[in-house]
Amino acid sequence: MSDIAISFSSVTKTYPSYHGFSGGIKNFLFRLPSSLREGRNRYTVLKDVSFEVKKGENFAIIGRNGVGKSTLLGLMAGVLKPNRGNIQVNGRVSPLLQLGAGFHPNLSGRRNIVLNGVLLGLTKREVLRYLDSIIEFSEIGEYIDQPVRTYSSGMYAKLGFSIVTILKPEVLLLDEVLAVGDIRFRDKCYAVMEGYRNSPDVTMILVTHSLATVLKSCDRALWIDDKTVKMIGDPNDVVDMYREKYEQKK
């Protein structure tokens, strides 16, 4: 059991459907009968999803928009709870579900590093130890003491990525965050991910539409489609099947 980082066993996740109450009391009263019925209706996003990720793996999740990839990551991060089934995560989760989530626009880059690091589950002391290497990796330079609202989106992204990757992640969750940054920074990111691939201590889960990244940096891939696991295995095979299904329709 100890070599498993994440395990999902028959996980079902549904979301509420918004028709009734959310339209306010007026709509609710006018459509009371249908509102009551819809109130109990929930959209199923994931149905009986089971899989395991081993410790130290670089694991990719692919699929079309809206099939539940981000929901999967949210479940792993503990931000969402499953309606049925069981999820086990061994290790401290470092989610980067959205670039700069938890940043405060009026605080400086430096203070945001500390804020974000502590939100990720590290003590302030630990964050301060890594402060300089984060600043260096992020390439923000002299702007680190400026409020982050003045940053370009690229700088924002670099800082967010630097924080989660440098702060000794155990289970790193990346949601579509690599498409940003200039070529040099992206190469640095790939180098870091390559480093994690060989490290048994860091499990990386990557949600992406960049199939090239999946082939280049991941050990295994999960294709999610129609609310469930369509395929799981070697990235080359999974990407081939995925391409076959959706590229031929052009």
Binding site: P16, V79, L80, N106, L119, L120, G121
Partner: protein, 257 residues
Amino acid sequence: MINRKRLEWYRDLLLVLLRKDLSVRYHGSVLGYLWSLLNPLAQTGIYLIVFGHYMRFNMPHYTIVLLSALFPWQWISNSIMHGPVCFIANPTLIKKVAFPKAAIPLVANIQDMIHFFISIPVYFAFMITDGICPGISSIWSIPLLSFVTLATVYGLNLLIGSVNIFFKDLGHIVGIIMNALFFGSPIIYTLDIVPVQFHIFIKMNPLAPIIICWRSALFNGAMAWDYFGYAVLYASFFMLMGIVTYSKVKWKFAEAM
């Protein structure tokens, strides 16, 4: 060992969030922290004119009487009025970052408490100017009442903040109720001018007992123990309700926002 590190992390989490809130709150305003003093002072000025001069409330040291209840009320009302939005005002923190969300209202309420602490020396300055000596018992009564007040507003925040995610009308209701509770508490008047048969309504008002205790501690230098009992009762009730409600629905926060 694990637990000590966990505790250190909880402490750091609160400190970092608190420091963020404190530096962000008055960001860009010239007077900054002074606003948390100017608000109750301006209110006091208004009540002084309306009730002290127009309606000729004949009460010695009316300014100090007002201030001794208005400064704590400022804290209580700021914290409670923020309650409905304490979670929904932070969508990315709720949806994208994994940490105990109960820390968000706690930090906001502690922040209001700190602003209240800043106003205490100002209150004592007014008191001394008016020729009254602050009671020595403040040394222990202020921390004690602060703790009970914090528990009351934090419990209410957990309760209102959690419910408001699913029932957004609550925010509007809270505004009206707070207005009623303000006039229903001995703030612009004192408890002894309220006819005894109405004291039951004062006791039923969940915020009146703590306000009575505050005025008694700050103005009379004594503890109103009978009302302190009610204040502790309300604080425990709201803490319990808040914690139960929050832990029941917190898993739905991210998907409902």
